[in-house]
Structure formats: structure tokens, C-alpha cells
Amino acid sequence: MVSVQSPPGGRETSFARVLLLPAVLMAAATGAAAALVAEPARIPVAVTGAAATLVVIAVAAEAVRRGRAAAALRLQHAREIAQLEQRLAAHDDDILHLAQELMPACVRRLQVHNQSPSEVMRAMIDGSEVYRGLPHPQRVLLRNVLRIVDREEAMRDSAQRAFVNVARRVQTIVHKQSADLRDMEEDHGRTPEVFDDLLRIDHGTALIGRLADSIAVLGGARPSRKWPKPVPLFSVLRGAMSRIMDFPRIDLHSVAKVNVDGISVEPLIHACAELFDNATRYSPPHTRVHVTAHEVQTGVAIEIEDAGISLNDVVRERVERKLEEAKAGIDVDDLGETPRLGLAVVGRLSRMYDMQIALRQSAYGGVRAVLIVPRDMLTDEPAPAVAHGIGAAAVQRVDDDGNLIADERPYRKRRPTSGPPLHSSRSMSPPPEDDVPVVTEWTPEGLPQRRSRVRGGFPHTVPAPAPAADDWRQAAPTPQKKKEEPQPGIWLEAFTKAANGVDVDSGTAAGDNGQPSHGHQDNEGDRT
């Protein structure tokens, strides 16, 4: 009974030994018994003994066979277990691969390429040699995960769009209000009290506007506002100043005379405003923030130095990590509960427009932020002659001899101001109208005759300046008095009427008639 598949070795011999011993014992016992018993019983005893020996051998053989079978079974069992374990390990590997490589790749594809889950499945699984045979359960798992991610993405998208939308609306209102305020500032430029209040409101509006811009940028949108023409860098930096709370602390030093391309103006203003805001916010309120801008190889470097707390390495690392995160496109919900929007906004903007930002220790002890503006944000086109900011524009209207150059500025109708007249009683100049001798008649001898407009008819060349300031104000509302005594402002009315092409005589006549031009005269009075 030699088993072909049984491995050689101890097992085989042990079976043989087990088999041999009882057979030999049985045979010996049978031989002994046959020798000892009496002659007549010897044959049956020998036969019985032989039969018993055979039975023992048979039983032993059977036992050995069964033992062999059991061993084989055990062997097979062990082999199967090993195989199963191997499969389990392979399965674990598969799952690990799915979790670590395939699924992230699919999710990335979903997010970046904006594909639907089924599209991703088709492209990544069915379209690839390696994954075509992906087992069904893994497919199901993958598809479900993709579907969930897709839904989350959609929800986040819509949330972002919602607040970008809100921010845009706020921006619209703010822009409108800024324009209105600018108009009002023009209208009330002569009444300092109103003007100062308007400036305060204007400032507050600009702060709201920056916040709305920040929200829009964090929502993934680009700054909406487009500037139609190139803007000088100086104006851009001043624009940035005008959007922060503590702008008087910013000192603009040597600013390179370059112009910023119209479409890049808004992001640059916004980024600078955020950096200015950081600089003023995290430095003592009595210190100044110094800003310079120099041309460098790659564009323009704007340096913002404050005298605040210097950045130690740990803080700097954190800040730079924050910037990096922002560049990588952090989610809005990563900003935390008390968001420090500034750096996130700057990071986002610098990623969108390829600006570079570095934070270093400042010579003043604080932080020096360097913003490198790439050359493609700048332009060689000349900026339009803006009204203020670059004062050179104003000077260009005067040529070398000091003569004025006419300019074609468009004019627009001024709305009348109803505020109190800006009339300085402390003025160094007596109202000139009282000094103007009016030559209306000539004597027969050819001498000019002066006629005073004052009722007394007494010609005075140097009237007291005081009455002009106060008296007429009380006099103005009484048309009665007006008929007799022309208002001090009347010369200007005649002047402007002439300028507007109205016949002076008819204009004066209307004024003399009292009522019709009365309101107008009041306005003129405001202007003296």
C-alpha cells in the first residue's frame, strides 16, 4: 500500500511500523499457542490463530489507510486555508488600492473635469485595461461614493454661487453709492461740514465694498469690476488705501511710474488693500506703514513694511502655509468661525493672477510683505489724464510759459446746493461788487459820471466789508427790499447770464421785477 501522493518520510515508516508490530505479535502468539496446545487441538488453534492474525493485519491495514486518508484530507484542508488566506490578502490589497488610488483618481476627475459619476466610471474603469475586470462589489462601492461626492460638490457649488451672488449684489449697490457719493461730494464741495460727512460715508461704503469683494473672491469668483483704461500704479495703491480703515497711516514712498492694465487693476487694488489692512491692523496704531514699489525683472515689487510684531519662524510658517492653502484653493468652510479673510483673499488672488507674495522680517521690526506683480498685469499704454492722484495730469494743462492749455473736459450740469453759503466774513477781500464803479452816464463835457447803486446816492469806494456778509442774508428773502437795493450777488448773475448767452439787460430787468429770478439770485448769492 504505497501512496503515490504521500510525501516520503517518517509518516510512511511509522504506518508500516504500526502495521508490523501487531501482526508480528499475533503471529508469534499463534505460533506459541500452536506449540503449547495438545496435538489434536494444534490444527484448529493454528487455523484460528492464522485467521486472527489475518484479521489483525486487515484491521491494522484499514487503520493505516484511514490514517493516510485523514492526513491527505488535513493536507488539502491546510492548502485550502492557505489559498483562502492568500485570496483575502489579495482582496485587502485590492480594497486598499481602490481606496488609495482608484477612488481618489476618480473623485479628482469628477471634481476637476466636472464629469458626472457615470462618465467617470466609463472613462476610468471601462476604458482602462487594468480596471476593466473590476469586481462588481467594488464597482458598486465606487459608483456610490462618486454619486455622494457629486452631490456634495453640487451643494457646495450652489452655496458658493449663492454667496457670490449676494456679494455681487452688494458690490453693485456699493458701486452705485460710491458714484452717487462722488457726485454729492462735487455738489457739496463748497460746504465743508456736509463735505466732511460725505467723506465719512464714502469711506464706510468703500469698507463695505471691500468686504463684498472678499466674499466674492473667496467664493471663487474673479473681481467683477473692470477699469476701462490703464491706471497708474500710484492711483492703484491709493485706491487700495481708500479701502481700508486706517489709511492715514499708510505712507506711499517712491512708487514706480508704471501703469496697470485695466483688467488687472481691481485684483491688484484688492490684494494691496488686504495687505495694507493686515499691516495696519497688526501693528501699533501710532506707527506708520511704509509702501514702496520698484520695478524688478519680472514686474513690479510692492513692499509693505509695518512696525508691528515681527514674525517669528513658527508664525511665519503658519502664515505662509495659510497662503499656500489659499493658493491651492481652500474651501470657504475651511476658514473657520472667525475668519481672517485677508490672507486667504490675497492667496486666492495671487493664484488667479500669478502674483507672488512673500512675508519677511521688516527692517522696522515688523513684517515686510512683498507682492510681486507680474509684468503682464502692467501695460505700456499711457493712463488717461486722471483728475487727481497723479498731479502731473493737472499740471499738463499749463504749458512752459504758464499759459493755460484749454482742455476738452466734458461738462455737466451742476445741481444747485441748498446748504448755507460758504461766505467768509473773515475774508481778506471785501466783496468786490461794492467797489465797482458803474459808469453809466457821461456829462456833456465828456466826463464820465459815476452813479452809485446805493440808494443814498453817495459814491463810496471803500465800503465797510461787514454788512455784505450778514445783512444781505436777512435781506434776501424780502423781495420788497430787493427792488430798491440790488443784491450784492447781482453782478455775478449778470455775468453768468452773459456767459450763458442770455441778454444782460433782459436778465437784469427780470431781476428787477422781483419774483421770477429771485430764487436764482439766491443761488447766485450762495456762490459768492
Partner: protein
């Protein structure tokens, strides 16, 4: 010289300058203003503008090489009167400009009037 216009200057088309006026006045708190009115004449003291001057101040100094009234300055700079007064107040306190009362017409009689008087007297 063209006759003065009553219409207000039009600002540059909306959005060609990001600066706001309060940046020029250096604060939104009620700033002090020197007693200047529209007809005050401003003349720069000699010397080039200091390099630290704001562009507007430099422009004022350049425009005022000859006496110029505040009203004209305001028009050339396209800045409201209140802003110009603040600029001028700063310049006055830095002693870079002087303000003068305008020369009234009474002190400078019309030449034709004088001639007429002269001729009339000669005829007597």
C-alpha cells in the same frame, strides 16, 4: 479766455480712477481749514516742491508759480473746493505757499476810465 461755465465739471467717466477723495484729505475727521475762500490768491514760494509732497501738492506748487485763485486751482485740479482748501492748509502750514487777498478792482481802476477822466479834464 473762455467764459466761465456754470455747469459742473464732469468727472472722468465712472471708474477711471480708483482713488477716493478722503485719501487726499488724509482723514475723514473734520480737518482744520485755513481761512481761504474761492477768490483767495495762492502763490507758491520759490523752490521746487519737496520730494515728499503728494502729487496734488506738487501740482498746486507748480500751478501757483503765478498767483492763482483757489477757484481756478479747484477747477484745474478737478477737485472740490473743500479738498483744495485742505491741501492748501497743509501747504500753508508747511510754508510752501502764501495766500493773498485778491486785488480788488477798486484799487486798480479801469484804464479806459482813467483815460476818459483825463480827456474830460483836458477839455475843461
Amino acid at each position: 479766455m473762455s467764459p466761465p461755465q456754470r455747469e459742473r465739471r464732469k468727472q472722468e467717466p465712472e471708474g477711471s480712477n480708483p482713488e477716493r477723495l478722503y485719501v487726499l484729505t488724509g482723514g475723514t475727521g473734520g480737518a482744520e481749514r485755513a481761512p481761504i475762500d474761492l477768490v483767495t490768491l495762492i502763490v507758491a514760494r520759490s523752490g521746487p516742491p519737496p520730494p515728499t509732497a503728494q502729487p496734488e501738492q506738487a501740482a498746486v506748487l507748480r500751478l501757483c508759480r503765478r498767483p492763482l485763485s483757489v477757484a481756478e486751482l479747484s477747477a484745474y485740479l478737478a477737485l472740490p473746493f473743500s479738498v483744495v482748501t485742505i491741501l492748501l492748509t497743509d501747504l500753508l502750514s508747511a510754508e510752501l505757499i502764501e495766500s493773498r487777498a485778491p486785488i480788488t478792482r477798486a484799487t486798480l481802476p479801469d484804464r479806459s476810465l482813467l483815460e476818459a477822466v483825463m480827456h474830460g479834464l483836458q477839455k475843461l
